[in-house]
């Protein structure tokens, strides 16, 4: 039997605004299976980022609860790492790549040599070995996003949360980063939640695609992507079932069915 790594239970979120309360999330329930890769898609402004902020403990839901590792979430949970869209603003420009990656390790009781070792391993995993001494702004956008991923991996998270991680890079880099994420998945099996606008990307990477729709948003569909791993950009995307699932998700996101 599989267990839920994250359990989202009837989560509601309201924002107070000058013209009254805005209901953004209207009762979201979903269990993320341990080790699964789950994408959250939905129209712009539906509340995807809001849901991620709740999952990372950066905000508290108005109602409902989120259970992580058997505990009700309050504040950032242990063993969770993030990769955000805006890599130019999520890495510290005054720290070298090495120090950026080491920063979240400060509160873990591990020796300096071990920290260095972990940084090195993470950089190797994302294909950036030897970039320890560079500053983030000396690297290309795709490389900076790799550093963000390395930083997340270095904390050895059980849960990885990514908000449109590949939205600001060019198409080729995007494919490379997607395949990097698949490799990470194969290597570590981290439970991953990703928000994306790209339905193809969601289909390509995920076990489950969760579609949010409506005002307030609810889960309008959950599509299991039962395409075999390992996946490949050419074969997987040419699979006719890939096209079917993509179409189904597309229609849900557009509110067409």
């Amino acid at each position: 039997m599989t267990t839920a790594a994250i359990s989202i239970r009837d989560v509601r979120m309201d924002y107070p605004t000058p013209d009254g309360v805005k209901h953004v999330l209207g009762g979201i329930s979903y269990d993320v299976t341990e080790g699964h890769y789950v994408s959250i898609v939905g129209p712009s402004g539906v509340g995807k980022t809001t849901l991620l902020r709740l999952l990372t403990g950066l905000a508290q839901p108005t109602a409902g609860e989120i259970i992580v590792a058997g505990k009700r979430l309050s504040g950032a949970p242990e063993g969770l790492a993030v990769v955000l869209q805006d890599y130019t603003r999520s890495l510290m420009p005054w720290l070298t790549v090495e120090r950026n990656i080491a920063l979240p390790l400060r509160n873990e009781k591990i020796s300096k040599a071990n920290v260095r070792q972990r940084v090195k391993e993470s950089l190797t995993e994302v294909g950036l070995e030897g970039s320890e001494r560079a500053y983030p702004w000396q690297l290309s956008g795709g490389m900076q996003q790799r550093v963000s991923i390395a930083r997340a991996l270095a904390v050895r998270p059980r849960i990885l949360v990514m908000d449109e991680p590949f939205a600001s890079v060019d198409a080729q880099t995007r494919f490379d980063l997607e395949d990097l994420v698949l490799k990470v998945r194969a290597d570590f099996g981290i439970t991953t939640l990703m928000v994306t606008h790209d339905i193809d990307e969601a289909t390509y990477l995920s076990d489950d695609v969760v579609v949010l729709y409506g005002k307030p948003a609810t889960v309008s569909d959950i599509v299991s992507i039962d395409l075999a791993f390992p996946r490949s950009q050419v074969e997987t995307r040419n699979d006719h079932r890939f096209a079917q699932m993509r179409t189904r998700i597309y229609e849900k996101v557009r509110g067409l069915s």
Binding site: T56, G57, L58, A76, E78, L80, A81, V82, L84, D86, R89, S90, M92, P93, W94, L95, L103, P104, R106, N107, Y135, W137, Q138, V155, V161
Partner: protein
Amino acid sequence: MRRIGRWLLAVLIGGWLPVLLITWWWNASADSTDPFFPPLHAIWEQFQYNWIWQFWGIHVMPTLQNLIVGFLIAVVIAIPLGVVVGSSRTTATYVEPVVDFIRSIPPVALVPIFILLLGLDSSMRIASITFAASFPILLNTIEGVRATNVVLLDTAMVFRLTRNQILWRVRLPNAMPTVFAGLQVGFQIAFIVAIASEILGSGFGLGAFTLIATDSFMILDAWTGVMLLGILGYVLNLVFDVVERISLRWYFGQRKLV
């Protein structure tokens, strides 16, 4: 080698106008008999005599000492205060209007008040300098600490950095370029106030020296005073620039690429 070459080029580009002006001044004033515009070579001779042999100790040292002590006190007060105010939005809304108001008073105008309060000795001068230099440092620190971008803070929070770590390792480094700009402005104001506080009542210091020389028609001496003030101001500013470039390499490197 290439760096030296580039540096030389910069010196040449920046230096031609001053060199031209000084040469022109030197030649045009060579035969001057106007008591108010003595020949530059005479000023230069007097300059060496005054500032290398005679008055450095009694007139320059006190000025520099007051300047540095006053400025350092301002730094020690204003930066921590700015960090506290900048980290909390509510404190900022209370404190900022007051700060903005006091800051709008020309700092030199406050020197007489400090004379009233503290008399004419160096404690008055240091207090004036500290007071005047504090505001730009304070305001820039508030601004810099507050302007930390949300993505960075969110990231730090999710990675469970403590409040202290977020302050020391995220907010403060992020504020450093702005703080530095404040330090530089603060120092320039401190220099002005240091000289003004001597002009308004003192027997020592560069400001006093220059004023007394002017009042007693020792025009050569007055010129040497003005000249030294110019050179000091320039050199101190240069020192600032160098320290800034070295300690904020990441900032300038990043800016060059954008």
